[in-house]
Assembly symmetry: C2
Homo-oligomer: 281 residues x 2
């Protein structure tokens, strides 16, 4: 496994890779969710490239970039075991030099859900992913369904900007008790870790209700709300039942929809989602 | 010379090209300025790709996209003669489908000069050039110094977004009497065509003055203004003496600078510029 930092070294190393190239962008502190993306890329492609870059421009000033968990040695060992061919670890200074001034912005699908509470977040995501795509020029790129809106936004950007890149969205990987894997789970103390189960349990309850025939968007949202409400350490920020591609909030009877939410467990903000009425869920 | 329209056909045709790839994006209605870019690309690269696309999103509502001159047969003949390998002529509908919503915006250097009078212009330029770069994935891309601010904006975008593309800026090509070549020159009647010489003559006068030792930015601007003022069919929109990279307006003594302007000749808006104190001028 080759590890590079500079853009020049990356370009050189890319030239030596077997085609086709699968790309997994990460912010590091890898878990089994990330590794499932690496595995899928390994299955699909001749070479796997992973970037590790905690991207400052997708965090607002009051968010947790400085405390974002890091353990680069552990990450690299996991990536070697996963059969990664090339790891790119750019520096913040090289990605955002002093006169940096170019932004990639996806307008409509960045606005609701996460975008409502993190208004500069997706602009940061699409700008950095565009930079990573340009630098790595992969054939396929892998993202997790955990960040459901991010997946929609990246797919929209890829289409709109003519990237000849296939975007592959991989299923959420969960702990045995149902908690969706996230680098931020490390912030939870034992009590909070237990409380955090309300997210997946709320979605499970709504999913069961959907399976049993419930189609009303408001009732599905309500089912999740009720589960969250019972957990005293949890505070719901939003629950949404939206069109899975336009992300427009739905009312009345729904067929396929994205049920998604953000919940504070103490100070830690967690997100989770399920696709209803979709075989990919 | 291969001619393609769809994105899929483009990708197929690109795979068959000799490396490296030089790219010349155009809006069509080609003149010797465009052909000088094709020639340079031919010198530098294994293959030359040209796009022809009158990009609607870089025109404001009151601007002239619908009347923008077109002659695709003539363009194709000129490109064959120039040794072009591949021409991409995308449709507006394929470039901007109904749900298109992603913009690439270069902030600072898009603001002054042209940006002041055409506030949505460069957002349209950088968005389309980003799309063209992603689709064509060239090694080098060629632009004319005639659109001086565009050259600065594109170079900034290329750096900021990590495109591994070398941007080559080629000198302005002028008619024998000094008028900078432009597809828009076709709009000028005989009288206006004569009047339009005031742009190059103004720059020439300022260049002579600079050669003779004049360094004061305001006096250099004034020299150009005086030439334009004498031409009754001409109306100066702006004259700028700016830093050639940041495009910040300069005061006092200048060493290298970009002297640029926009002038209405009747209804036709023309631009021209000269780099002072720079061997590339």
């Amino acid at each position: 496994m080759k590890i590079v930092e500079s853009f020049g070294d990356l370009q050189k190393a890319l030239g030596e890779l077997k085609q086709s190239v699968g790309f997994v962008p990460t912010m590091g502190y890898l878990h089994d969710g990330h590794l499932s993306l690496v595995n899928k890329a390994k299955e699909d492609c001749g070479s796997v490239v992973v970037s590790i870059f905690a991207n400052p421009i997708q965090f607002a000033e009051d968010e947790d970039i400085d405390n974002y968990p890091r353990d680069i040695d552990r990450d690299l060992n996991l990536l070697i075991d996963g059969g990664t061919d090339l790891v790119w670890i750019p520096t913040v200074k090289s990605m955002y030099p002093e006169d940096f001034q170019t932004w990639v912005n996806v307008e409509k699908v960045s606005i609701p859900l996460e975008g409502k509470f993190r208004p500069t977040h997706f602009r940061g995501v699409t700008t950095v992913v565009s930079k990573l795509f340009n630098a790595v020029h992969p054939d396929k790129a892998y993202f997790g369904q955990k960040d459901a809106q991010q997946a929609v936004v990246i797919k929209q950007m890829t289409r709109d900007l003519n990237y000849p890149i296939e975007i592959i969205i991989c299923p959420i990987i969960r702990e045995p008790d149902g908690l969706a894997m996230s680098s931020r789970n490390i912030y939870l103390n034992d009590q909070e870790r237990q409380a955090a189960l309300c997210l997946s349990q709320g979605l499970l309850a709504a999913g069961d209700s959907f399976q049993a025939g419930e189609r009303d968007a408001e009732k599905l949202r309500h089912t999740v709300k009720n589960v969250i409400k019972k957990e005293s350490l949890a505070e719901l920020q939003y629950i949404s039942c939206a069109h899975p591609e336009t992300l427009k909030e739905l009312e009345g009877n729904v067929e396929t929809s994205l049920l998604s939410m953000a919940v504070f467990i103490g100070q830690t903000r967690l997100i989770d989602n399920v696709l209803l009425g979709n075989s990919k869920s």
